[in-house]
């Protein structure tokens, strides 16, 4: 894909259109990348043929643009292809050519034209203290903008940990009382894609499913798509055999660390962190924290990220057996049936004796009671 086409991608011009063959290929690739069936690709093509490119409005608040950056680095499909051919990105502060009033007008126009159908993507936390004055765009607070834009959206996606549950801006002492989109939009269903940054393919998967089928994936209780957040990092971690064998890096740069041992003792949050990073990594080069020797920071978990210090150890959520084995138990002696019979006899005798002794006690008791009277 040429740079020229990439540049042309965001002004809505038709100059960089793919031919049909390439477009079908793109849709197939997109479907495959996010685990949709091949039939989904056909549907995508049909939808676009009918001019049904969903409008996407991307709101940015208290964030670092890391999620956008990570999305820009996808190549199966590339974001440029996606924006140009499959969706219509009508508003994105970092990417749109327009600025100021012009950009705001584009957002309002898209909201009017696609009311009830557009996808509202939220990146960044929303400050709520003092009426939300700590983040304003065009003189309006993030709170107002998010409420106005989300109200008429067909689907709301919170991308990244900040939008999902507050993230960095909400870390102690949280001076702006920053909150995630689900906390602000309590009466709406918000798909959250936490991660710092969010995994771009999870986002693409959700968007493409919505584009193709008009549905949203199954979510967990925190709004995370189960297809990506059902399992913990620990379950799929390539260092897991070292964990099972009790081989740990004790400090950064020690022998265990250099040998690629498990990072649990360095504070790895993988055992409690539900995220797909171990399987679908970042930057198209397979990079991810544990891969480069840093413990997982638990960025997708609201109770861990920016709350539990990075090098604090956590409990294992689902402990499993280690890779060591107990010995087969030593042989134990035969139980001879005669012994069982004798044991029964002895037991019976003891029982009888006990019974008589108890009777005697009773009698003694009643005789002592009689003394004072």
């Amino acid at each position: 894909m040429s740079q020229a086409r990439r540049r042309g991608a965001f002004d809505g011009s038709e100059s960089g259109r793919l031919d049909r063959r390439e477009f079908v290929k793109l849709c197939l690739m997109a479907a495959a990348a996010v685990g949709l069936p091949a039939s989904a690709a056909r549907k995508m093509v049909e939808a676009v043929d009918h001019g049904l490119k969903p409008s996407v409005i991307w709101l940015s608040f208290q964030e670092c643009t890391g999620c956008t950056e990570s999305l820009l680095r996808t190549s199966h499909p590339g974001l440029a292809d996606l924006i140009l051919d499959v969706i219509s990105l009508d508003y994105h502060e970092a990417l749109c050519a327009a600025a100021g009033e012009q950009a705001e007008a584009a957002r309002r126009r898209a909201m009017e034209e696609h009311a009830g159908k557009y996808v509202c993507v939220i990146e960044g936390a929303i400050p709520t203290k003092d009426g939300g004055i700590y983040c304003q765009i065009g003189g309006r607070t993030a709170l107002e903008i998010v409420e106005e834009t989300a109200r008429r959206a067909g689907a709301i996606i919170a991308i990244g940990s900040c939008a999902s549950f507050g993230g960095v801006p909400s870390a102690d002492p949280n001076p702006t009382e920053a909150k995630g989109a689900p906390q602000v939009l309590q009466d709406r269903r918000v798909v959250t894609i936490p991660g710092c940054p969010a995994n771009p393919y999870t986002f693409l998967g959700v968007v493409l499913q919505f584009v193709t089928f008009g549905t949203l994936p199954a979510l967990d209780e925190r709004g995370r798509p189960l297809f990506a957040y059902r399992r913990t990092i620990h379950e799929d971690c390539p260092r897991r055999p070292h964990f099972d064998a009790g081989q740990f890096a004790e400090t950064f740069g020690d022998e265990g660390h250099r040998k690629g041992y498990c990072l649990y003792k360095l504070g790895c949050k993988g055992p409690q962190t539900h995220a797909p990073c171990a399987l679908k990594r970042f930057g198209e080069v397979g990079a991810w924290p544990i891969g480069v020797g840093h413990p997982c920071a638990g960025c997708t978990e609201s109770h861990l990220a920016f709350r539990v210090p990075i090098h604090t150890m956590v409990k294992i959520e689902h402990p499993t057996p280690p890779s060591t084995f107990p010995p087969t138990t030593p042989e134990h002696g035969k139980v001879s049936p005669v012994a069982t019979g004798i044991a029964g006899l002895v037991g019976g005798a003891l029982l009888g004796a006990g019974f008589r002794w108890a009777r005697k006690l009773d009698e003694e008791e009643s005789s002592t009671e009689e003394v004072p009277s």
Partner: protein, 292 residues
């Protein structure tokens, strides 16, 4: 299924009658026939790779708590009040082998024989099942089992006996026992005992150099429904020589014989009791007369 008081008393009454009459037990108790529909499992230790997936699946399927909560690993070393199956390893002069410890579902189980209340019982397909609502916590089954299988929940305020019940709750829903369902190598398989026995024989015939030429459980301890194949002698795996008679067949014969011998002293005891009682009554009547 709860047992009401009436049924319990009836059961105890029957025990009393049986004890008093001595039954026909002086003759050795007859051997239990293998039921046509007997189900079972075949654990082929030579196929086991020690992955312990079965242990994880067993815990999940039976809602068992972790062996040591809060510990980084779930590492039972033996069966316990929290663990129904455990993979162990033998390493020694005879080579190396894994061993899946669990209930063997004896054809004629000692645990059932000693359970005075029928909590441990043979259920559908010959599965040795446990009914916690009947259990009085005497732990006789634990003592009686020649394989040391049933375990007691010592740390629970409402303790139960814990042992493999061949995942009968899953079988009832048309599923396989959890361990057989997940085993990646087919080292542990579920099926009709008859078919598994034939399969085990076929394997030994096909690879005579791989196996010890014996199927543990075919007739050991009167036969078990969980069968074992191994490349190392079975004692090394903790499966002892028990002979081919079931433990209860012998112990019941002995015990019932002894009980039968009890009839004479028991009758004597009743007689003496009656005499004492009569005497006692006479005395109190006399005393009352004196008082007036």
């Amino acid at each position: 299924m709860t047992m009401n008081r009436r049924a319990l008393l009836k059961g105890l009454g029957a025990v009393g009658v049986a004890t008093a009459t001595g039954g026909r037990a002086a003759v050795a108790r007859s051997r239990r026939p293998v039921a046509e529909d007997a189900v079972g499992m075949l654990y082929d230790a030579t196929r086991c790779i020690g992955c312990k997936t079965c242990m994880v699946a067993c815990r999940r399927a039976n809602h068992l708590p972790y062996e040591k909560p809060g510990h980084p690993w779930d590492d039972p070393v033996d069966l316990s009040g929290r663990t129904k199956t455990v993979i162990q390893r033998y390493r020694g002069r005879e080579g190396q082998s894994y061993m899946k410890r669990q209930c063997l579902h004896c054809l004629d189980p000692a645990c059932v024989s000693v359970c005075m209340i029928g909590a441990m019982h043979k259920s559908e397909g010959g599965i040795v099942a446990y009914d916690p609502d009947r259990c009085i916590g005497c732990r006789y089954c634990q003592v009686a089992c020649p394989f040391n299988v049933p375990r007691f929940q010592w740390d629970s305020p409402t303790p139960k006996i814990v042992k493999c019940e061949m995942c009968r709750h899953l079988l009832a829903r048309g599923r396989l026992p959890a361990c057989c369902e997940v085993c990646p190598t087919g080292a542990v398989q579920f099926g009709k005992r008859k078919a598994l026995l034939a399969e085990a024989k076929r394997r030994i015939a096909r690879h005579p150099d791989r196996y010890v030429h014996k199927i543990y459980g075919e007739s050991d301890a009167g036969g078990t429904q969980v069968l074992y194949l191994s490349s190392v002698p079975f004692e090394k795996l903790g499966l002892p020589h028990l002979g081919t008679e079931s433990v209860p067949r012998l112990s019941e014969t002995v015990q019932h014989g002894i009980y039968k011998g009890f009839i004479v002293p028991a009758a004597l005891y009743v007689l003496i009791g009656a005499a004492v009682r009569r005497h006692h009554r006479q005395r109190s009547v006399d005393e009352r007369k004196e008082e007036t």
